[in-house]
């Protein structure tokens, strides 16, 4: 180790550190409120802070690779050719990181034609001659070839932990070598998949170590080939040239034409102004506080900082957030009748209040409320506790019936549908305007997560008490809220209500800034009550039908299993991917290039098998076998288990803030994903039935809604006319592009026009069209040109959507729902192409979601106003399903048709098809 008085030089391998930071957060990426991924910036900033605080180096340089071919590419064109393109998020981070480094006034070093490791190697060796101890800050093991008594590898610790320092002894131990330069020989032999350095086939780390230990170097091996044996000998001789090339590629060169001058490696005073501006944009508020870049409250500046030479390691960003311990608050436990009366009096004079329930579970149809908390002033909240005894609990809740029923008071919540459903179990109706912070954020930043913990961090710089602290981690050993000591529960619950109120105050103006206020007020919030009612209504399942169906499916599965075994020519477990892989790729030799997974077994994933479907009849049978097993386990066997014992129905849960398109999704069970393309998938619908003999199942869906929305959004007169006159759009399209009368359109022409119509929406190219229609590319191009000549505004619409996305970074639905397309200006044509297709398609999908949501709100209102017994029970994207009281069928059909077709006046006639029957299959 160097002596303490030795001058220290730190050379940072920037891209290695940047990648490491980015991927450290890959499971929980960090975003600011504008949707910018800040993972890499945060990781690099913390690394720099930690370095400067702990090591306080005299001299430091941040070395970047230059994006130009180096001498290694000339030597070996495939060098690093296997590398995936830099993720778009990460590419956008680089300019920020350079600015951060400039803000810290750390010199940036780069040299065209050379990689960072060559620059670092050259500077380190030069510095050694000048008496420096050099630390190469990198996670890359290849640097071990450079270590000496004065040159060290400095591998940053994970998660803010201590760094690992490798000198010669450490490198000797890790690689099993005598001298550092033997690392190059080992790399030359074993290759490096990350850099696409081939090495010698069949030689891995252990055999490379053994070879170098026995012969000293690659040269030594080739001077002693007579001492080698077997296949290893053959391979080493056959690939000698490749091994020698690999060694050259792995060698860090030490003669880069770069001057070593301490003036160019001296860090200067931090540029506070530019760091503040950057960190504010990135929303690194605690780093601003930590570095004392601005005046900060006393309690926030207790920890040592970079500037007062403290020695505490930089903690992760979260540890500097406010918590219940650091913020003044008044949280009250409301336990007796007098206190409850006083709280009710306070609530009754508010314009709005926030409430939150803590429950014994997350299933709203089974759980009980443990406490309800209320907040109507920041940092102040009240927790009303409920006893386990249901009737006692009911009495207390009843005291708040009028509070919740007050139409003039806005109720605020986070995922408020859950609380509404919980209260409905006690017969409590929540009336008046609703405000859900989760849904507000969903409209502002549809691509991010919307949980309270995250929103508090982003908008309030606050870390709430984790639920785990009260009831432990998720799983069978998790406790229930009922077991939590009352004081602790009260604080937790009050904090939730208080934070949700604060969040509403912080986030509300963002609805206006993002121009989604009307969407929030007129669609998403009114829909909450509709979904709550649908979940409560539930849907009846014919368990006997499912049992019969299960028998049929099991028979089909057994039959397929037999056929697969017959085709395989031996007994094996068809359900075992491992055994199946051996049969398909070793016994039947279906694909000589079959890939293996990390666990060294053949991949038999669906996409792999789908590609091989024409190679052997066994493949389709395996796919069918798996499809049936999935249908059986996911739905046919699972649905009866989800039937609520009290209601005899299943009660799916709708998620309003999951799909960025604006569509709804559902869980427990996911009824949005029942396969409808297969006979068996359709058969499943037979089990969904009306609630009793007095009811009938009504199913209504929009016809060709996507094409109609495209016509409406583009304003193309020709297409609008075709739809509004009730004509067959594909025939009209064919008549236009083939210039024939509509009566002369053949079925082939219509089919081609249909392909063109769909292809346009999803961005099928002229090549794709030519392949599909079996025509030449020039004919396909003519067809597309003809299409756009006849429907000119469609082309304008498509181009303008892409243009708008490029300019604004987002596209919008007819009701202003935004879809952010962060890759729309990507330099990578492939990535950009995906975003462009989304720019056209997302507004169409999203507008369809807007339309059906409005229809649902209006139908719900009509059913209520007309005091009908019939209920809306299920929404599956373009389709609504009802449990209709038979005498009301005509009235309900009228309401449904009127409200669905008239949901939004977009300038095109929306057509609804509907049918009533004894089950979903027959009604559809």
């Amino acid at each position: 180790m160097p002596d303490n008085n030795q001058k220290k030089l730190f050379l940072l391998d920037m891209y290695a550190l940047i990648y490491r930071s980015y991927f450290a957060f890959i499971r929980t990426p960090r975003f600011n409120s504008k949707g910018l991924n800040t993972s890499a910036m945060l990781g690099v900033t913390n690394t720099i802070i930690q370095l400067l605080e702990k090591e306080d180096p005299n001299f430091v340089g941040a070395v970047f690779d230059v994006s130009a071919p180096t001498f290694r590419h000339e030597m070996f064109p495939e060098y690093k050719a296997n590398r995936e393109a830099m993720p778009e998020d990460l590419r956008k981070s680089i300019p920020y990181i350079r600015k951060i480094i400039e803000g810290f006034n750390i010199p940036i070093i780069e040299k065209s034609g050379f990689e960072a490791d060559d620059v670092i190697g050259t500077l380190a060796k030069k510095a050694e001659k000048e008496g420096f101890a050099t630390y190469m800050m990198t996670p890359d093991k290849d640097y071990a070839q450079l270590v000496s008594d004065n040159i060290f590898m400095f591998k940053p610790g994970k998660g803010g932990g201590d760094a690992e320092i490798w000198g010669l002894p450490e490198a000797q131990e890790k690689f099993g070598i005598a001298t550092a330069d033997q690392v190059i020989d080992i790399l030359g032999l074993m290759g490096d998949s990350a850099d696409n350095i081939p090495g010698c086939p069949g030689v891995g780390p252990k055999s490379a170590q053994k070879l170098i230990s026995d012969f000293g170097s690659i040269d030594g091996i080739y001077q002693n080939t007579d001492k080698l044996k077997g296949k290893q000998k053959e391979k080493l001789i056959e690939f000698e040239e490749q091994v020698r090339l690999s060694k050259k590629l792995a060698t860090i060169i030490l003669d880069v034409p770069i001057e070593f001058n301490t003036k160019n490696l001296t860090r200067d005073e931090v540029d506070k102004e530019s760091l503040i501006s950057l960190f504010e944009e990135l929303e690194f508020r605690t780093i601003i506080q930590r570095l004392k870049l601005k005046d900060v409250p006393v309690e926030m500046s207790m920890q040592g900082t970079l500037f007062d030479m403290g020695t505490v390691a930089a903690p992760p960003e979260e540890s500097k957030l406010d918590t219940i311990e650091t913020v003044q608050h008044q949280y009250y436990l409301v336990e007796n009748e007098m206190q409850r009366a006083s709280l009710r009096a306070e609530l009754s004079v508010q314009k709005e209040f926030c409430f939150d329930t803590e429950t014994t579970g997350l299933n709203t149809h089974l759980a009980e409320i443990v406490c309800i908390s209320f907040s109507f002033r920041k940092h102040e909240a009240y927790c009303v506790t409920l006893p386990a005894d249901k009737s006692e609990a009911q009495k207390i809740i009843d005291e708040f019936r009028e509070v919740f029923a007050d139409e003039n008071v806005t109720k605020i919540g986070q995922n408020i549908k859950f609380d509404i459903l919980m209260l409905s179990n006690y017969g409590i109706e929540v009336k008046g305007k609703l405000y859900d912070t989760m849904l507000a954020h969903y409209l502002i930043q549809p691509d991010l997560k919307h949980n309270l913990d995250l929103l508090c961090k982003i908008y309030l710089n606050y870390e709430k008490v984790p639920t785990e602290n009260l009831i432990g981690k998720k799983g069978k050993n998790q406790k229930t809220m009922r077991s939590v000591p009352i004081e602790k529960l009260s604080d937790y619950s009050c904090e939730d209500a208080d934070l949700t109120l604060q969040l509403k105050l912080a986030i509300d103006s963002e609805l206006d800034k993002s121009n989604v206020r009307r969407l929030f007020d007129e669609i998403e919030m009114p829909l909450v009550q509709v979904l709550a009612a649908m979940e409560n209504a539930g849907i009846k399942i014919n368990s006997d039908e499912l049992k019969k169906f299960a028998i049929v499916l099991r028979e089909q599965i057994i039959q397929l299993e037999k056929e697969i075994i017959e085709l395989a020519g031996q007994e094996f477990n068809v359900a075992s991917p491992k055994q199946l892989g051996v049969i398909l790729f070793e016994k039947l030799e279906i694909d000589s290039k079959a890939k293996k997974t990390k666990s060294k077994q053949y991949s038999t994933a669906e996409d792999v098998l789908t590609r091989l479907v024409d190679k052997h009849p066994i493949i389709q049978k395996v796919l069918d076998f798996r499809g049936l097993k999935k249908l059986l386990s996911t739905y046919v066997e699972a649905l009866p288990l989800l039937i609520n014992q009290k209601t005899g129905k299943i009660h799916t849960s709708y998620n309003q803030a999951v799909a960025a398109t604006g569509r709804l999704s559902s869980t427990n069970p996911n009824l949005q994903n029942i396969p409808i393309r297969t006979e068996n998938g359709r058969e499943l619908r037979k089990a969904f039935i009306p609630s009793d003999d007095e009811h009938i199942f009504l199913s209504a869906d929009y016809s060709q809604i996507e094409l109609r929305i495209m016509a409406a959004m583009s304003g193309d007169e020709e297409m609008l006319r075709a739809f509004n006159e009730g004509k067959d759009i594909h025939s009209i399209t064919a008549s236009k592009i083939y210039k024939v009368h509509v009566k002369e359109v053949t079925s082939e022409m219509r089919s081609k026009a249909k392909t063109a119509n769909f292809g346009i929406i999803y961005g099928i190219s002229a090549f794709g069209l030519s392949q599909r229609l079996n025509i030449s590319r020039s004919e396909a191009k003519e067809l597309i040109d003809g299409y756009f000549e006849n429907f000119p505004k469609i082309k304008v619409f498509m181009d303008s959507q892409i243009e708008l996305a490029r300019k604004n970074g987002f596209v919008q639905t007819i009701k202003g729902r935004k879809r952010y397309l962060k890759d729309i200006n990507s330099a990578n044509a492939m990535v950009r192409g995906m975003a462009e297709r989304n720019a056209i398609n997302a507004p169409i999908q999203g507008s369809a979601a807007d339309i059906i949501k409005i229809a649902m709100i209006n139908i719900f209102r009509q059913l209520k106003e007309q005091q009908l017994k019939s209920e809306m029970v299920l929404q599956v994207h373009d389709e609504l399903n009802f449990d209709v009281f038979k005498p009301e069928l005509e009235a309900v059909q009228n309401i449904v048709k009127t409200e669905m077709e008239g949901a939004v006046d977009v300038g095109v006639h929306l057509t609804v098809e509907m049918n009533a029957a004894a089950n979903w299959l027959d009604a559809h």
């Binding site: 799909a659 099928i764 090549f767 392949q771």
Partner: protein, 52 residues
């Protein structure tokens, strides 16, 4: 879901699947599959076709 289209045959199959999905009421999985297929088709075209 990860479609790797390497041959013309696979390309045609993917194309057929796209149009099959286009013509139905799409579930969430259908929509996801559709986007993945379109991206895979574009990738294949980019690597194999002069006309895009």
């Amino acid at each position: 879901m990860n479609y790797q289209i390497e041959t013309e045959e696979e390309y045609r199959e993917a194309l057929n699947r796209v149009l099959e999905i286009c013509d139905i009421h799409k579930t969430e999985n259908d929509l996801k599959e559709l986007y993945v297929l379109m991206d895979s088709l574009a990738k294949y075209e980019r690597n194999n076709c002069a006309l895009n």
